[in-house]
């Protein structure tokens, strides 16, 4: 599966990672190498084989519907990142997290 710079840009967008043009070229080379490695899988016939997600055949444990967590807003918001764009204040206000305005 041959990748192009356009593909790199598309994947980077999906992953929300900025990749500038010079990085894109280097990334393309390295990823092409890794994909070549992955292609080896195609040599094997896997028809009828059930995919394996977990090694043990375990059934999901179910939790009782009882409240076990309390308010930890202060502790958690103490580690909120700085707002950025010149402000070193924490990106929280009146208990709410602040993100750049979302345009619907």
């Amino acid at each position: 599966m041959a990748l192009s710079i356009e593909d790199i840009k598309k994947i980077a967008h999906l992953a929300r990672i900025e990749v500038n043009d010079s990085d894109a070229a280097a990334t393309l080379t390295k990823l092409t190498g890794i994909l070549g490695l992955i292609e080896q899988m195609q040599a094997v016939n896997t028809e009828g084989i059930v995919p394996m997600s977990h090694s043990q055949d375990v059934v999901q444990r179910l939790r009782e519907d009882v409240v076990t967590k309390s308010n930890q807003r202060e502790a958690f918001q103490q580690i909120a990142p700085a707002l950025g764009n010149g402000s070193a204040e924490r990106a929280v206000d009146h208990g709410l997290y602040l993100v750049p305005k979302v345009i619907e």
């Binding site: 990334t27 899988m41 999901q60 909120a80 990142p81 993100v99």
Partner: protein, 489 residues
């Protein structure tokens, strides 16, 4: 003292030959002296550490000590420890102070162990040399120009250089076993599900497992007694009866069937490493083991399968690092999209970004069947290979790594060459089986320097006690595991 086993240290503490504070201080002094060079530790907090030691001393005096009470343990910086900087080797979490304890950390706390500090690691556990860490590489205590292996490189160096009594690591594709091999100590990756992943920063959820890194099999067994056990906060944690991992250490090995996979002794294995492994096998014959040739035909495919599944899971696990609630946020950005893209471009290193991109790609529309699904199918074939093999043997042995420690910088530009380091270890993670690396001798690198070589032992599901027995018996008749790098005494 710094060379003493965990059992010995526990006895010394009980007999008041040394206090936990004294023992801990001894290690802290040693870290002060050697860590600037070796860079095994990312975070240290003498105050917190000594406070724990003091508390341990009180407990020992009260007669409430357990096997690891008062003993200083190094914690890989992948475990969230409340109040401790927890970076996962990344700029993304460089300023993250964990507000809660991982299950593993709580277990050690409950046992009265002392947290010596957080060890260096490949960024987000992605690497085999500790060279992807934001906090710089780690030096292999046997040869400062070489890597210690990875991703648990900091813990590895800490154990090898006696900068701790023992350490914790995690193993997703070999990250405990390969460094154990390269640094000459004993490391164990348990069966998947035996140690809780709660609070252990996720890389590849279906492969990650935490395990002990220590100076002997017996030490690893004592560590396992603390680390293993059901945790209801982890849906993949197995609810099994509590085990004493030391229970079978002294069993004789007469009649043990040891399987040698022919694929582990083929092309790609350094000849000198091969010789060390052969000698170790010979030693096992003397102990009464019966050698059986087996085959794990899909071994070669384990690398492509791993490099589809692990990056896929990682690409999703790392999406939460978006600069909104904690961790790194870009300093300047224009809008939300820009904030996301810059934060993640700045916060992640090159290898992590590569794996996120690969992971995103193999999950994307149109490629899921050909890559992800296919890899899960081959994964089952690999597990079936082991299932078949274990019909003919009790444990499987072979090299843990294809070569000894390589020079820093040697493989950084060639991801695929780096990935091939894990060729012998990855299949165990895919199958969810337990695996160990045990020091088996030394082999010369190209410049003649003698470097450690590890023997890998792979067991069937939940067979850790037997594996530890197999390793322990070997360690009764050999002394590779007691060696220490010259000049670091």
């Amino acid at each position: 003292m710094i060379n003493s086993s965990l059992k010995k240290l526990s006895q010394m503490l009980a007999k008041k030959e040394v206090s936990s504070v004294e023992l801990t201080q001894a290690f802290l002094n040693r870290i002060d002296a050697l860590n600037p060079e070796i860079n095994a530790y990312i975070a240290l907090d003498q105050e917190k550490t000594l406070a724990q030691a003091k508390a341990a001393d009180i407990r020992i005096a009260a007669g409430n000590a357990e096997a690891l009470t008062g003993i200083p343990i190094a914690q890989k910086d992948i475990f969230c420890a409340q109040g401790w900087q927890t970076t996962c080797g990344s700029k993304m979490l460089a300023n993250f102070v964990a507000p809660y304890d991982a299950h593993v950390i709580s277990q050690f706390d409950a046992a009265g162990a002392v947290n010596l500090g957080k060890t260096n690691m490949d960024e987000f556990a992605m690497g085999s040399s500790n060279e992807t860490s934001y906090f710089g590489g780690v030096k292999n205590p046997w040869d400062f120009t070489r890597v210690p292996g990875g991703s648990s490189g900091g813990s590895a160096a800490a154990v090898a250089a006696r900068l701790c009594a023992a350490a914790t690591g995690t193993d997703t594709g070999g990250s405990i076993r390969q460094p154990a091999s390269l640094c000459g100590f004993t490391g164990l990756k348990p069966t998947y599900g035996v140690v809780s992943r709660y609070g252990m920063i996720a890389f590849a959820s279906s492969l990650d497992q935490a395990g002990p890194m220590a100076k002997s099999a017996e030490d690893c067994a004592l560590m396992m007694n603390v680390m293993a056990g059901f945790d209801e906060r982890d849906s993949t944690s197995l609810n099994r009866e509590k085990e004493d991992y030391t229970r079978d250490l002294n069993k004789p090995l007469q009649g043990l069937r040891v399987g040698l996979p022919k694929e582990f002794f083929a092309e790609g294995l350094d000849a000198n490493v091969g010789k060390v492994i052969d000698a170790a096998i010979a030693e096992y014959k003397k102990l009464g083991a019966e050698i059986v040739e087996i085959s794990l035909p899909n071994t070669g495919l384990s690398i492509p399968v791993y490099y589809v599944l692990a990056p896929a899971e990682a690409s999703s696990n790392l999406s939460r690092y978006d600069g909104v609630r904690y961790g790194h946020r870009a300093e300047s950005y224009t809008d939300l999209m820009d904030m996301y893209c810059k934060t993640r471009a700045e916060g992640f290193g090159a290898e992590v970004k590569r794996r996120i991109l690969i992971g995103t790609y193999v999950l994307s529309a149109g490629y899921y069947d050909a890559y992800y699904l296919k890899a899960q199918q081959i994964r089952r074939l690999i597990a079936q290979d082991f299932e078949e093999a274990f019909k003919h043997c009790d444990v499987i042995m072979g090299p843990a790594a294809p070569s000894t420690a390589f020079k820093a910088g040697e493989k950084v530009d060639d991801p695929v060459a780096m990935y091939l380091q894990d060729i012998y270890t990855i299949s165990t993670n895919l199958a969810g089986l337990p695996g160990m690396s045990v020091p088996a001798g030394f082999s010369s690198g190209t410049d003649g320097k003698a470097l450690p070589v590890g023997l890998q032992i792979i067991g069937n599901y939940f067979d850790e006690a037997r594996m530890l027995n197999v390793a322990h018996q070997y360690q009764q008749v050999t002394d590779w595991h007691t060696r220490m790098p010259e000049g670091l005494a």
